[in-house]
């Protein structure tokens, strides 16, 4: 036991001596939580659009000023003719064009019908449908004004209530997501590299021939990363409560417990990756190239997992951060208790046990 403590101390000293890495270990989660919390948003607004107004009459001017007043659009200098549209789209200057035909209000008044052309750059389908919907809504409101609201019989008004995140901010979704992503990748990388480094430098052999138990080597490698990550958790929680106005609504104890479990799981993933790698470069390539994008996409904070094909849903179930993301959302944002996250906790626990067991079993205690 005393041996172990001495070794853990040695590992800590090594970690603290490497100021640059240490700076990254703490700086990375902080910078990213703040940056992503403020900057990222899935809401589509301020889309650059352009108007081609062949009509230049009262109605078209009114509608254009309605569009200009909307927070969803950033109206650019009007174009004279639709022939200029292609070029503007190709330069990526605009996302959509609204075309008013000549005789617009004349048609409207005489025949009771007029049509506006809306041309969207559908290379990004999501933005295209959303902004087309926005325009349609503006036109519908205008139509209702034309008809006079009182004249409409049988009016149903939906009263919509946004739960948990009334202003539709990006942070409540991204903070738990980035927390899961960063903790997972940092823990995995640091562990796998730390162990492979000893192999690459040949110091692992010295450790293995010493009377020190191999399990202690592993424990002493994991403990500093565990503690650093828990400190990081608290920094993240404080930052998001101070800057992003996201307080922990549920039990802090439960959140810390879940995070610790998740960190240990990620450390075990790193341990497991280290077994197959001989050089630090290989370990890093495996953990960065191999895990970064899948973790990012399959955690579920960017794209809803239930929309994915079944194969990816199965794969997503194997990603620990996916379960952790659910736990953080429920405990931190929705303020739910143990009863609603025990399943996810159990899954993390099972993953953790499984990974630790297989990596400890395949950890080579002999020299080649």
């Amino acid at each position: 036991m005393k041996q172990l403590i001495v070794f853990i101390r040695k590992e800590f000293l090594q970690v603290f001596r490497d100021r640059k890495t240490l700076l990254m270990l703490f700086g990375l989660p902080i910078a990213q939580i703040v940056l992503f919390g403020f900057a990222l948003s899935t809401e589509i607004k301020d889309s650059k659009i352009v108007v081609v107004d062949y009509a230049k009459d009262e109605v078209s001017t009114q509608i254009i000023s309605e569009i200009a007043g909307s927070k969803y659009f950033d109206l650019q200098q009007s174009l004279q003719s639709t022939t200029q549209l292609q070029a503007a789209f190709k330069k990526g200057l605009i996302k959509m064009a609204v075309v008013f035909p000549a005789n617009f209000s004349k048609d409207l008044m005489h025949t009771g019908k007029a049509t506006i052309q809306v041309i969207a750059d559908a290379s990004d389908p999501n933005t295209a449908t959303t902004i087309t919907n926005y325009i349609t809504n503006i036109i519908n409101t205008y139509n209702a004004q034309l008809a006079g609201i009182a004249g409409q019989p049988l009016q149903i008004t939906p009263e919509v209530q946004m739960l948990y995140n009334p202003e539709l901010k990006g942070a409540p979704n991204f903070v738990p997501g980035v927390m899961a992503l960063v903790l997972m990748l940092v823990c995995t990388m640091m562990t796998s590299v730390a162990i492979v480094k000893e192999k690459e430098l040949g110091t692992m052999e010295i450790l293995l021939v010493s009377p020190f138990k191999p399990i202690y080597i592993i424990i002493s490698k994991l403990v500093p990363n565990l503690i650093i990550s828990i400190v990081n958790l608290f920094i993240i929680l404080i930052l998001s409560s101070v800057f992003l106005d996201l307080q922990v609504k549920g039990s802090l104890l439960l959140l810390v417990f879940a995070t610790t479990l998740f960190i240990i799981t990620s450390l075990s993933v790193g341990l497991w990756l280290s077994i197959g790698s001989k050089t630090q470069q290989a370990a890093m390539t495996n953990s960065l190239m191999g895990m970064m994008l899948p973790t990012m996409l399959l955690t579920g904070f960017l794209f809803p997992i239930e929309n994915m094909p079944w194969l990816l849903q199965v794969l997503a179930n194997l990603v620990p951060s996916r379960w952790f993301f659910i736990i953080v959302k429920r405990v931190m944002l929705e303020g739910l208790g143990f009863a609603s996250v025990w399943k996810e906790l159990l899954i993390l626990f099972a993953m953790c046990t499984f990974l630790l067991t297989i990596s400890l079993r395949s950890f080579k205690i002999r020299l080649q």
Partner: protein
């Protein structure tokens, strides 16, 4: 020139000898390019809705049927009270809850107006706003239907403006056309910025850089010799990506392929410069890894692959402007989907070149041929 040739031969041999890394470098991007575009699908469907019908009238039944048959929603619950429906939202069994109050039909007919209550779990903003919009438009449709029934087909002579919408460049709204080019860029980014940094630092860590430093090899030759192999590797992976995109997802670039490769070279010039810069600031591979992870993660999240840059606050947009990947992603999407030519992308190309020049100059100034 001859020195460079020998250096390159050495680098390529080392790279090819390291089978494990090489395999990971090819296999990881390939698998990810096959699988990940399927995950990156924003088209929202299967929104789980839990309905509380306290009215049990013809109208409420009609409305519920209309929601169920719209294709966007899956009815997951049919609860007797609003409170229970909210519990389902809490447990993530439902994304939104719709409450049709008692007396819905009667009040509608008698008083001409009636409210419906919708509660949405808004933590995932995108799903919330889209789900809410879909539901509102279904309610609106339903409203029109019953109105027409009510008026018994009486002519509606109020003037009405219609909207005819056209979707250019991607009329079938195929999300993969948009995502595959973006994902390809993130894979090339990770490769270029990271691997080049590791490689130089590995020489530092193992001490072999000292041997190179005492030889008459000039420092720019040494650096070029280090970077060219990664330029080649990244170009190969980029090509594999284009082929995979064509074979698997049927993505044929509308624009000129040559334009894509010119942009790729400028982009790699910038990203390898960043890798070089990272390597001059790191003494161990661990440091190089932490630094490059920091940048790559920020690039991936902020460069507009997954979220729109336009909806970020202005200060963030200025920051993103200095990221080479955000320009290259735009170029890729413009050329592949819209067929933009060199003239259309000059700004982005120029921006990447300037950023690359800054990175490389900074790195060379900071790199000293000393141990």
């Amino acid at each position: 020139m001859k020195t460079l040739y020998f250096l390159l031969e050495k680098e390529f041999r080392q790279m090819l000898r390291n089978k494990g890394v090489l395999r990971a470098l090819f296999i990881a991007p390939t698998i990810q390019l096959i699988l990940m575009p399927m995950a990156a699908d924003y088209s929202v469907k299967n929104i789980h809705i839990s309905v509380v019908d306290n009215d049990h009238s013809t109208y409420s039944q009609k409305l519920i049927n209309k929601i169920g048959s719209s294709g966007y929603f899956t009815l997951t619950g049919y609860t007797p009270s609003y409170k229970q429906a909210l519990t389902m939202v809490e447990q993530d069994k439902a994304d939104l809850a719709l409450h049709i109050p008692a007396g819905f039909e009667r009040n509608l007919v008698r008083e001409n107006t009636q409210k419906l209550y919708i509660a949405i779990n808004a933590i995932s903003g995108m799903k919330a706003s889209l789900g809410g919009a879909y539901l509102s438009s279904i309610v609106q449709d339903f409203n029109n239907d019953i109105r027409i029934d009510w008026e018994n087909g009486a002519q509606d002579d109020t003037p009405k403006i219609g909207v005819a919408s056209y979707y250019w460049y991607n009329p079938f709204m195929n999300y993969k056309l948009y995502m595959v080019p973006g994902i390809l860029v993130t894979l090339v980014t990770a490769l270029a910025a990271m691997q080049s940094a590791f490689n130089i630092v590995a020489e530092k860590e193992s001490g072999t850089i000292e041997q190179i430093n005492v030889t008459p090899i000039q420092k720019h030759i040494f650096i070029i010799g280090k970077l060219i192999p990664y330029l080649v590797l990244a170009t190969i992976i980029f090509t594999i990506g284009l082929i995979l995109g064509r074979v698997l997802y049927g993505i044929v670039p509308v624009g000129n392929i040559g334009v894509l490769y010119v942009s790729l070279i400028v982009y790699l010039f910038a990203m390898l410069g960043l890798g070089l810069l990272i390597s001059t600031y790191s003494n161990t591979q661990m440091q190089a890894m932490s630094l490059s992870f920091f940048f790559i993660n920020i690039f991936n999240m902020l460069s507009g692959v997954f979220t729109s840059i336009d909806s970020m606050p202005q200060w963030a947009q200025y920051i993103v402007e200095t990221f080479p990947p955000s320009h290259f992603i735009k170029i890729m999407r413009m050329v592949v989907l819209k067929g933009s030519g060199l003239g259309d992308i000059t700004y982005h190309l120029g921006a990447m070149f300037v950023i690359g020049l800054v990175f490389n100059t900074w790195a060379i100034l900071n790199y000293s041929k000393r141990a």
